[in-house]
Amino acid sequence: MLETLEALAHGFSIALSWQNVLWALAGVTLGTMVGILPGIGPALTVALLLPVTFNLDPIASFIMFAGIYYGGMYGGSTTSILLNTPGESASIITAIEGNQMARRGRGAAALATAAIGSFVAGTIATVALTFVAPVMVRVGLAFGPADYFALMILAFTTVTAVLGSSLARGLTSLLFGIGLGMVGIDLQSGQARYTLGSLELLDGINVITVAVGLFAVGETFYVASRLRRGNQKVEAIKGSIWMNREEWSRSWRPWLRGALLGFPLGSLPAGGAEIPTFLSYTIEKRLSKNPEEFGKGAIEGVAGPEAANNSAAAGVLVPLLTLGIPTSATAAIMLAAFQQFGLQPGPLLFQRAPDLVWGLIASLYVGNAMLLVLNLPLVGMWVRLLTIPRPLLYAGILVFATLGVYSLSNSIVDLITLYAIGVVGFLMRRFGFPVAPAVIGMILGPLAEQQFRRALAISQGDYSVFFTRPLSLTLMIVAALALLVPVALDMRAKRKGRTVEVDD
């Protein structure tokens, strides 16, 4: 415990250098901006910045990326409160209550409770991260390749089973990603795979190209094909930013409950922040003294879920930093960022690059504080972003996307790949295939294969090793449950639905 505090103190000494503070500021500002703007999110932003930060100091880059990550959460809630159409599913809940509050002239209070709640929960979660990380590192050191493989299988199953409309679609997306990751030279045997005789493909397909293609180009194609006509109404921010006593007293408990709920759920390989926010909403509704207000602008319905959202975001960093397992698309891109700098997150990272890890964790505290200042008093400024005409916005996104990918190796082939993947991204969105599993599959797939083959090399071809090691066996069972339970529940629901129809 004392060692952790020492490490954290050292981290602060790094995070509080004026350069790193500026990088943190850049990150959170950028993050808030992209969180507010439609069509572009934290995952895409980090992917686009990867080529740019190549020559920069890794600590500074990661401080900026973390700022973007957190900032994206804050910005997203601003949009869902002021505009009735949120992009991500985690923001839907905030939109329900928050937008209602805005319509009733209490928009400023909604923004305030979201921002303060995010700060409180974010800070609590970062404290939790600080103390849980070293413990997880010790656990991680006991992992052998078979256990790592089982853990990655768990990550795969939870990502496909929870996200997306159907299992077959989620699985297809995941397999597509894994397949893309297999292109190139197989490191363990030196053989070329799927390279179509091309020298360029020997190096594999760059994950940035795929990420930008799926997120930026694919999204833009999709929005172009179904553009919402007419301007959306942006609610004016009315009321005082400083919440009154009643609003405070109704908010602080949901903040704490949201924080406690979000962190553990976010750190499990359970795919993202939707579950904690929905759960928080349900809990707040049950515990509220004014449940009839829900649906019409209950402040608890904003305070709780926003807190849960932010602490889940910090939770996602736990498996990412301590075990190298990403549990969301943004986490997968951050993993790719680590790889780009030649670092492999996991227990060894804490030993080999403590400056980076603890500097990063310390800067999360700094970033959270900055975000509070950015998002409350300055919110009027951010709101202007919502009024950018869509044609100009999306055109700009594509120019940046082209630039980002072209600057990787000045190759037209990269651009062709980018646009082709963009078409795939469009098809995926149009036909209900979730995009996140493809990114996770592409980044985690090669690692999973590596661990699989290592495990079998060590056990000399004995496949039962995955089921005889206790850790591996447990993880495999959980993975199987994660896959089968939703399917079973779904079938039960369908059977019940059918009986009702027949009775009619």
């Binding site: 297809t172 999709y222 553009l227 919402r228 120019v399």
Partner: protein, 166 residues
């Protein structure tokens, strides 16, 4: 007395095409897996294992998706901020946008980054029903020039200059 017959849902043609595409993808990975050369001296799990696994799994998923599509089960299109999920697909917008991308590819080397990006900007803006094309050209040119300068001067990356004397 009218009896309500539970009608069969119509085949989801779009989804069926995509499902067939997935099967095709699986087949592609399968034949690619056969082509991977394995050194006879390599005794461990070879480089073919995972590719075969992925290929078979994709074929299985494709088959399931085909069955679903034939039964009329449609994928649910994604909801997003600027999207009206119930609207029919605007093919004109897609074609204009695709055209803008192709133009960008053609112009990038010869015309240079600034020219290509301005054309791209204009094309995408038009695809999104921007009426004031002059404004789009001006903003596109300004944005592209700013990015070009920032990247080449400040960050030291190289971008094709093309016909613009910078």
């Amino acid at each position: 007395m009218e009896q309500q017959i539970q009608g069969r849902r119509p085949v989801a043609w779009g989804d069926l095409l995509v499902a067939l595409g997935v099967v095709g993808l699986g087949a592609y990975f399968l034949q690619g897996a056969y082509r991977i050369r394995v050194l006879p001296s390599y005794s461990n799990i070879g480089p073919r294992f995972f590719p075969f696994l992925v290929a078979f799994a994709l074929l299985a998923c494709g088959a399931v998706l085909c069955v679903q599509a034939l039964r009329g089960v449609r994928g649910i299109p994604e909801e997003a901020e600027d999207v009206d999920a119930d609207a029919p697909t605007d093919w004109r917008a897609l074609l204009v946008m695709g055209g803008a991308l192709v133009v960008n590819l053609l112009l990038m080397r010869r015309g240079g980054f600034i020219v290509a990006s301005t054309a791209l900007y204009l094309g995408v803006a038009l695809a999104f029903h921007e009426r004031n094309w002059l404004r789009a050209v001006l903003i596109g040119a300004a944005l592209s020039t700013a990015i070009y300068l920032a990247f080449t001067e400040l960050l030291g990356l190289t971008l094709p200059a093309g016909i613009v004397p910078l």
